[in-house]
Amino acid sequence: MNPRLTFATAGRVLRQVRADHRTLALMIAVPCVLIGLLAWIFNGTPVFDKIGAPLLGVFPFVVMFLITSVATLRERSSGTLERLLSTPLGKGDFLAGYALAFGALAVVQALVATGFAIWVCGLDVAGPRWLLVVMAVVDAVLGTATGLFVSAFARTEFQAVQFMPAFVLPQFLLCGLLVPRNGLPRVLELLSDVLPLSYAVDAMRTLTTQVDAAGDVGRDVAIVAAFAVGAIALGSLTLRRRTP
């Protein structure tokens, strides 16, 4: 890997997103609208305080998953990936460049969404607020890494978009937002133990309820980050310099 090539790639990806104003606006505005809607629905109940923060972790995961899987599919089908892999660019540079670019976008998205949830919607956070942002960014990188990996199995944009419900919704159902994880049937509970989104949601929930949350949250952040690194490693196996 070569940091210069990684940063060149991250810069190029960011330039592409910047050229697409509508995508940028949707990326920033949609989480705020959803959080606002949720706060309104559960107005006067304690529900928003319980699920608001976990959702701040789910949004970046879903959004970055979708955007990355479509973006990499585009690279594969337009021939730019083949061209890139005939240059000195390493596979690691390519993947890290994408992770870096979408990680940076996630910082902006997380800052705006978290600020909106806390100051506009009155979300109560007992633990350190900056950890909410850290967790959201790690979730976004996980989404990017998973999207990169999954895009290898999609041949068309139609397939890529449908991998979202296939990969993301089961994790969403099992992550403890609908039913606490220890209340799930045993098999499903074990399954939820090996899904990264469960740890992301656990961390967000700990943050909202405990003042000294840093230790527990740090462990969850590390687990989610490990999943992201694993997904990037798997993704690099799907990038082949030589293809038939």
């Binding site: 210069r4 090539l5 060149a8 790639t9 810069g11 190029r12 330039r15 592409q16 050229a19 697409d20 337009s78 021939g79 730019t80 083949e82 061209r83 890139l84 892999l85 005939s86 240059t87 000195p88 660019l89 310099r241 030589r242 293809t243 038939p244």
Partner: protein, 212 residues
């Protein structure tokens, strides 16, 4: 292939031209045999900044400007920014430099794709049907550019299925159904087959092979 030559790779569609070019670039899974490029195995890391590859379709980023595209490819091969200005001159896109690639015409787009391979001045340029779908004027300009690059010491391997482009090459390889039918200079080919032009020479070779 000697340095500074324009070598034409000709043959009908589906004859294996792209497969051969991709093997030389090192992005093709090779079923058997070896491919050596500039004295090294094809696809070696050291070759990646010495070989420029232009695919059949313009493989550049449609949502970026011409300059942003060239800057990125220049960064990948470690070429200085000044080289981007030089290439913009060479491919004659000075007026479109700040336009997004998806707003350009087909011919301009393929010149951006060519420019992306020219940054960093590779020693060997692999061009897969660069003149397909271009009007006659652009085609002539592009061949003039190839000639100029060759005079400056670049070696070019250009594929085409348009036989009249054969006369512009120093050397011709005729490929049909994965087999090399001929490897000769354009004049040598015409002399050998007694044909009036490259297209007839090609037909003569196919018939000779069928008779053998």
């Amino acid at each position: 292939m000697p340095r500074g030559q324009v070598v034409g790779l000709l043959g009908p569609n589906g004859g294996g031209k792209t497969t051969l070019l991709r093997s030389i670039v090192g992005v093709q899974i090779i079923a058997g045999g070896t491919v050596a490029v500039l004295g090294e195995p094809a696809g070696s890391p050291s070759l990646r900044s010495r070989v420029g590859y232009v695919t059949q379709e313009a493989s550049v980023y449609a949502d970026l400007t011409v300059r942003a595209n060239l800057n990125y490819f220049a960064a990948l091969v470690g070429a200085p920014r000044a080289d981007v200005d030089r290439v913009i001159e060479v491919v004659d896109l000075g007026a479109e430099v700040d336009s997004r690639v998806d707003r350009l015409s087909g011919g301009q787009r393929s010149r951006v794709s060519l420019g992306a391979a020219l940054v960093g001045s590779p020693e060997l340029l692999i061009l897969d049907e660069p003149t397909v779908a271009l009007d006659p004027v652009l085609r002539r300009d592009l061949w003039a550019l190839f000639r100029r690059l060759a005079e400056e010491g670049t070696t070019l391997l250009v594929s085409s299925h348009v036989m009249d482009e054969a006369t512009r090459c120093d050397r011709l390889l005729l490929l049909r159904e994965g087999r090399l039918l001929a490897d000769d200079s354009p004049d040598g080919l015409l002399a050998r087959t007694g044909a009036a032009n490259a297209e007839e020479a090609f037909f003569a070779l196919i018939e000779a092979e069928a008779a053998a």
